[in-house]
Symmetry: C2
DNA sequence: CGCCCCGGAATGAATGTTCAGTCCGCAAAT
DNA sequence: ATTTGCGGACTGAACATTCATTCCGGGGCG
């Protein structure tokens, strides 16, 4: 398996998978439909991926890599928490807004048992070591420990931020709400003020 | 159809549907499994509901009615925006936390085409008339118009609140984060501060 | 230089499984 | 005895996966 002969074809399958899962969800997209959109035979999928589940996981990995690259591009490493938070928030919002299929796929994935297990692992891992990473979790932890942010569990802060961000991004993608760069910055400000310890 | 003979059985089917959809999602829960958990025959479901889709909708309606009752219980109608917001937020959080199956079902439902269409209708409806309703939308609108809240689209405020709330509730239900009454009030405070126009 | 053959990638019809929804005989109630 | 609700075997459709076959490019032989 995975004697990848034609990387073009592999990519086409992954792209089709992301688009269709974003539109229809995992259980509502037959592999035959994926094959049709990718322009390959039904059986060809199984030359590149062991089964449907593996295909999903590899599609996720592909998005995660792309997103990570985009978000950390120009990350203001040594600067203030404030500036780093804004960078994180706005870059992530932009990624979601300009890649609606990726966004839709990620929503599906993180709501599935796969995604939940993955998150559980991430949380465990974070609790043990990993004090130097470039994640929003560490950034928030830094803010709490310095007394800048409210004294709530780090995960509550993070969950609020992600929840708010993804909810607004979703409404934008569905056309429920207009969103532009200044408004995204306002939202970033709002959530910053939400985290701040009461003056 | 719906020659309601045994309301007990009807309720058992709805309860089983809610639990299973919450756990497994719409497309991954066969009607046969619903029947088994409800303790009825596979065919009996179709005595009470026209088809699977109808069953889902009626399950949603049942939850919505129950939630509406719970949340509006003791609503401080004439009081300050602040107090009304806190009531809304905390009652909703409590409902989600103590009814995890309902919460899981609602997530699934609102992510499905049904739920998206429903929300689109709600938004349209809100834009036309409905200036006197007891929804969080009207409350936020009131805050914006009085200059108390930031001048962002009402839907952005609402989306942030719901996004943050449901995200935190989900993490609580999954056991990722502890949550108690004081912490919920802190979260309510945080989101209130996020909405407030900059002092 | 042209022809043929061969290895392996690609294909899509076939397979076995699972599903939503139907139907029919039974049993309890009147 | 008749009616009425019930269960679960049943049906046709749709699914994931497989596999016998086709297709293609390149390398060796005449």
């Amino acid at each position: 398996m995975s004697h990848q002969t034609d990387p073009e074809k592999r990519r086409a399958i992954i792209t089709a998978t992301i688009e269709l899962i974003a539109e229809r969800g995992f259980h509502a997209t037959p592999t035959s439909m994926i094959a049709a959109r990718a322009g390959v035979g039904a059986g060809s999928i199984y030359r590149y991926f062991a089964d449907k589940e593996t295909l999903i996981h590899e599609a996720f990995a592909e998005i995660a890599a792309r997103m990570h690259r985009t978000i950390l591009d120009g990350y203001p490493r040594g600067e203030s928490i404030r500036r780093r938070f804004d960078h994180f928030f706005c870059h992530m919002a932009n990624f979601f807004m300009s890649n609606p299929s990726d966004f839709g796929f990620l929503r599906q994935y993180f709501d599935s048992p796969f995604g939940i297990a993955l998150r559980r692992d991430k949380i465990m891992e974070q609790e043990c070591h990993n004090r130097d990473c470039e994640s929003i979790g560490c950034l928030v932890q830094e803010g709490i420990e310095s007394g800048l942010f409210k004294d709530m569990p780090m995960l509550v802060h993070v969950s609020m931020i992600f929840g708010a961000l993804t909810s607004v991004a979703r409404d934008y993608i569905l056309g429920f709400v207009p969103l532009d760069t200044p408004l995204i910055h306002s939202i970033s400000d709002s959530l910053w003020e939400a985290m701040l310890r009461r003056a």
